[in-house]
């Protein structure tokens, strides 16, 4: 009935045709399961040697039939990933074998694991910190190499370490504050407001800059949505194919070929990007076209960036301007692709530049691909404007972390402001405590760290 009383099993490696597949089992009944599915595993001894690989036949205890030959490794808790007893089975890959081995494990009394349940158990058993547990999930879902590297760094505890360092500085400030509140000035060195101010401002800045990496972290995590929009027949679908480097969208000379929103993914500056091709936006009366336009418009609302495609070989018209007007209201960055640059141009770059304020203009030719790389560069710059200076620096991966960091930064800011306006120390102390406890939420530690212990360790107190 408990998440941790029963023994869970799941295929740990990906599905599909592959040579080997890893199945993981965790929980108190691992040994019993082992003996049922691999009878006589350790040559008659009741327990296999931990961390040793055995090659054995797997039997389904319900039907008594051999299902596969596996490499079996037993990990004795707490020296295991989840902190419980764990079995790792390497069986043959494919679609049928892993399923049959898993069925054998379920017959032997396992329950199918919920998504993320192994990591959850690792967290509950104290094997992973909260930041690390979140990293495992980002590691698995990482959509690009950069995202994966970041998640790996976090798994190694880098965010946890940075948070701990921040907490350490705040705690130190608090120790001085608390000491001066609880003890006479004769007993503890008096607090220097200038020093306190420096610490608080530093802590606020560090917490805020970590919090600000969320925008990039979210992009890493969830990917970005890039929408290609414009009036009909400006070459949006050709441009999309060009950007993807494959023939994804159907391209014809007939205006309005794309009726629905098409999507496909590619990698832009290390970020997973989902590219959306939309129906041409026009004030058409055609009912199908109108549905396409409605969908295109709704897509614009959720876009992280938009490429407005304009046909440079034809004069700008009302539909172009209507599109531009819609985009003007959007909060995301917009780039203008002045397409069909192979044809004689009637729209100047300056004219195109007036369509959407501050939007860069890139002449492109979707047919021969010229200007497309430049367009990618421009869009990349727009969407990764908040990329941290150090591309390998710590980037947070959850909204929870961002909120905690931002809360800590706000508290430290309030405290610093209070120091500047000579608010009494007891009030300032309340803000510093809030700042510290918010950081504690990142590492999953509760901030009941005994401040008094630190006071006694640092100051000679007492009459």
């Amino acid at each position: 009935m408990s998440p941790c009383r029963d023994t869970i099993a799941a295929v740990a490696s990906g599905a599909g045709q592959c040579a080997v597949c890893l199945i993981r089992v965790s929980g108190p009944d691992c040994l019993a399961v082992l003996h049922k599915v691999f009878p006589g595993l350790a040559g008659g001894t009741p327990q296999p040697e931990p961390r040793r690989a055995y090659v054995r036949n797997a039997l389904d205890p319900d039907v008594g039939e051999r299902v596969d030959q596996c490499v079996v490794t037993f990990f004795r808790g707490p020296q295991s990933y989840t902190g419980e007893d764990v079995l790792e089975l390497g069986c043959h890959g494919g679609t049928v074998t892993p399923r049959r081995v898993l069925a054998a494990l379920l017959s032997a009394g396992c329950r199918l694991a919920d998504p993320g349940e192994f990591s959850k158990r690792a967290f509950l058993n104290g094997k992973l910190g909260l930041a690390e547990a979140e990293a495992v999930s980002s590691l698995i879902t990482a959509g690009s190499e950069l995202a994966q590297r970041n998640a790996l760094r976090q798994l190694e505890g880098r965010l946890g370490n940075e948070a701990a360092a921040l907490a350490c500085r705040l705690r130190q400030a608090l120790v001085h504050l608390e000491a001066s509140l609880d003890f006479d000035d004769e007993e503890v060195p008096s607090l220097q407001p200038a020093d306190l101010l420096v610490t608080l401002e530093d802590c606020a800045a560090s917490a805020q800059s970590l919090a600000d990496t969320w925008e990039f972290g979210r992009a890493l995590q969830e990917g970005l949505q890039l929408v290609v929009a414009g009036k009909p027949n400006t070459g949006k679908s050709s441009l999309l194919n060009c950007l993807l480097g494959e023939e994804r969208a159907i391209v014809t000379d007939i205006p309005g070929t794309t009726r629905d929103v098409l999507e496909s993914t590619f990698c832009l500056g290390g970020l997973p990007v989902t590219l959306f091709d939309t129906a041409g936006i026009t004030k058409s009366k055609d009912p199908i076209e109108r549905i396409g336009v409605a969908r295109a418009l709704s897509k614009l609302g959720s876009a992280d960036a938009v490429v407005l495609v304009v046909d440079g070989s034809r004069p700008l018209d009302g539909d172009d301007r209507w599109c531009a007007e819609l985009l003007q209201r959007a909060t995301c960055p917009v780039a203008v692709a002045l397409n069909k640059s192979d044809l004689p141009q009637v729209v100047g770059r300056d004219d195109a530049g007036t369509l959407v304020a501050a939007a860069p203009v890139v002449p492109t030719c979707a047919l021969n691909g010229s200007g497309v790389d430049r367009l990618k560069e421009v869009v990349e710059e727009q969407v990764t404007g908040n990329r941290p200076a150090d591309p390998e620096g710590t980037v947070i991966v959850s909204l929870r972390q961002r909120e905690a960091l931002a809360r800590s930064a706000r508290a430290s800011c309030r405290a610093a402001e209070a120091v500047r306006s000579a608010v009494p120390l007891d009030m300032i102390c309340a803000d510093v405590r809030d700042g510290l406890s918010a950081i504690g939420e990142i590492t999953g530690e509760t901030v009941t760290e005994d401040i008094l212990s630190a006071v006694f360790a640092q100051f000679c107190i007492g009459k």
Partner: protein, 632 residues
């Protein structure tokens, strides 16, 4: 004094120190027939250590005792020789009174009040055993084979349980210098299955007042303003003939003597097993742990108007008497001082307070309450506050009523009891303001606003006090309204007044409350800007000013408090089976099983508990409740 022939009492209090006196007074004032058994009827309300009452967090406790209807505030007001308001520049939450008592008068008055209290009988004797019937206490027995019958017992044994005084290589059993220890009770506790552990504390040498060189001290005079602990005394004028306190410090010579004789110290010679308080280290400790500090401050506190004894605060030690003489003489002001009494260390038994409920009743034996040093605390104020609560709750127990339990956002007393029963005491527990997470709400200035109502409901607060309190509340409300409603328009004379107060001129109309928010303006000066003298009582003006000035801070703490209250509202049934809660670590099962927290909030404060343990517990409580509801 009532001389009852009968051997039956409703409440028996063991000990007549600061905890015992408050406990007995509270019980008797609530109508219980109360017996106080003490080792020495001449030492009621004795101050065996320093002569001061108050200081940060401790003054807060005294005010809380006073608000609940206890005696300590009145007693120190009647007998103090010196008083100051500390931390005046550090903020309203940590401002605290500290007074020095005339120790003889303090004890005399407290003893008189106790003996004069209807329903109280005081007897001399050493209690060695409890009479237990099933799981309930039924009486106590003394070493002279006397027994008294009762329904509730409050033990306030101080440092008497197996007390051993240590002075250098010398040691002898004693409850404190001059009194015999209580040797039987610890065994009775063990026999009943209680865990009993050992702590250490100490006191300082006393020197003769006339032998101090006053040219070598810094004089700390009493405040010029009237200062009083008890809310009923706040309108009284300043007390006349107050004494000074004298400050001085140790020298390089003091350090050299202490270091050269460490092997002769009871503490460093390896004679002491009990753990001493880190906040009140012996002079040996100071020199060993902080070798870089050139000198340590000392405070010379006069023990009374007519008393020669001066307490040398800061010189606590367990060195032999001859070395103590040398130590004292190494201080310039004490070069020729005569040592009247040496300092000493004392080790004693305590009963770890994790064995108590929040009402201070033991979990093991119904009707048995503990207060003061037996719970591992130190300090007169800590002891008195617990004594009051134990007295109140013993009477609640007799009447089968809900005990008074104060939460961490209501009172320092609530913080202390919650800390004790949840975390226990690894060293003597002293109250600090930093232990209170809602410190801004727990001011000494608003203790009456936090607790008078509770004391009134329970019957400890007199009707006169209640009427005065209600009048004060009305005045605060009226003044708050006036400050918020009164609009001040910019005018040349007003701007001049502002500038003279170091404040910026007004650019637009302000309410008086808005002006009061300026850091440089007070209640009085904000009103003065618009030419008005309110003549408000200082304690009313002070409350209004704090609430107006720090509104944002207080509001944030109120929000945090509301979150706490929700968390505390998630009750854990007393018989909750931690051992069969799957997924709970063995260590967590043990710790929860020992403390038996009564809410998820308290569970989160149990030491060594991880967030993971709490999430598991929370999931199970939730499931348990669903099943209970489904079953019902």
């Amino acid at each position: 004094m009532s001389h009852s022939r009968s051997d039956r009492y409703e409440v028996i209090v063991i000990g007549a120190g600061h905890a015992g006196c408050e406990a007995a007074l509270a019980a008797a004032r609530l109508g219980a027939k109360t017996l106080v058994v003490t080792a020495n009827t001449d030492h009621v309300g004795h101050m065996p250590c320093n002569c001061s009452i108050g200081g940060p967090a401790k003054a807060h406790l005294v005010r809380e005792i006073d608000a609940l209807g206890g005696e300590m505030g009145r007693n120190i007001d009647a007998t103090y020789t010196h008083i100051r308001l500390l931390n005046t520049s550090k903020g309203p939450a940590v401002q605290s009174l500290r007074a020095q008592a005339d120790t003889e008068q303090y004890a005399q008055r407290l003893g008189d009040v106790l003996r004069a209290q209807a329903g109280v009988t005081v007897e001399q004797g050493e209690v060695v055993a409890f009479e237990i019937d099933g799981q309930r206490v039924r009486g106590v027995a003394t070493s002279s084979r006397r027994t008294w019958h009762t329904e509730a017992v409050i033990v306030t044994a101080g440092t008497f349980l197996n007390g051993v005084v240590r002075l250098g290589e010398l040691s002898f059993p004693a409850g404190r210098a001059g009194d015999p220890p209580a040797t039987g009770l610890s065994e009775s506790y063990r026999g009943l299955g209680f865990e009993v552990k050992r702590l250490k504390t100490g006191t300082v040498p006393r020197v003769h007042r006339e032998t101090i060189d006053l040219k070598e001290v810094t004089v700390q005079p009493s405040d010029q303003e009237p200062r009083w602990f008890s809310f009923e005394n706040l309108s009284r004028p300043r007390k006349p003939k107050l004494l000074d306190c004298w400050a001085t410090h140790t020298t390089a010579e003091t350090a050299a003597i202490a270091r050269a004789n460490l092997h002769r110290s009871a503490l460093y010679g390896g004679y002491i097993e009990g753990i001493g308080p880190r906040y009140c280290p012996s002079i040996e400790d100071k020199f060993v742990k902080f070798p870089d500090r050139q000198f340590h401050p000392l405070f010379l506190e006069q023990e009374g108007w007519d008393r020669d004894h001066v307490y040398v605060a800061g010189l606590s030690n367990s060195l032999p008497v001859d070395i103590q003489q040398e130590l004292v003489h190494s201080v310039p002001a004490l070069r020729h001082a005569r040592v009247l009494r040496p300092g000493y260390a004392i080790e004693y038994d305590f009963v770890p307070p994790t064995q108590l409920k929040q009402s201070l009743e033991t979990k093991r034996v119904a009707g048995l309450f503990h207060a003061g040093q037996i719970n591992g605390t130190s300090g007169y104020e800590e002891a008195a506050a617990q004594g009051l609560l134990a007295g109140l709750n013993a009477v609640a127990y007799l009447g089968n009523e809900e005990p008074l339990v104060l939460n961490r956002a209501e009172a320092y007393l609530g913080v202390m009891v919650d800390d004790l029963v949840t975390k226990g005491a690894d060293e003597p527990y002293r109250m600090f303001t930093s232990r209170a997470e809602f410190r801004l709400l727990l001011r000494q200035g608003n203790a009456d606003r936090r607790l008078t109502r509770q004391g009134w409901r329970r019957g400890l607060v007199s009707s006169a006090r209640w009427a005065a309190f209600e009048a004060k509340e009305k005045a605060i409300e009226a003044e708050m309204g006036a400050a918020q409603r009164t609009v001040v328009r910019p005018q040349a004379d007003r701007d001049r007044a502002l500038v003279s107060l170091g404040s910026a001129p007004m650019r637009k109309a302000h309410t008086v409350a808005e002006l009061m928010k300026r850091p440089e303006l007070s209640f009085d000066s904000a009103w003065a800007v618009c030419g008005e003298v309110r003549g408000t009582a200082p304690e009313v003006a002070c409350e209004v000013e704090v609430e107006v000035k720090y509104e944002g801070y207080l509001q944030r703490q109120v929000e945090q408090r509301d979150r706490l209250v929700r968390h505390e509202g998630e009750r854990i049934p007393p018989d909750f089976d931690y051992a069969s809660t799957p997924g709970l670590r063995r260590e967590a099962i043990e710790r929860f099983g020992k403390v038996r927290p009564n809410s998820l909030g308290q569970a989160s404060r149990v030491p060594g508990i991880t967030p993971a343990d709490l999430s598991v517990l929370s999931v199970y409580l939730h499931r348990w409740r669903q099943q209970a509801e489904a079953g019902a």
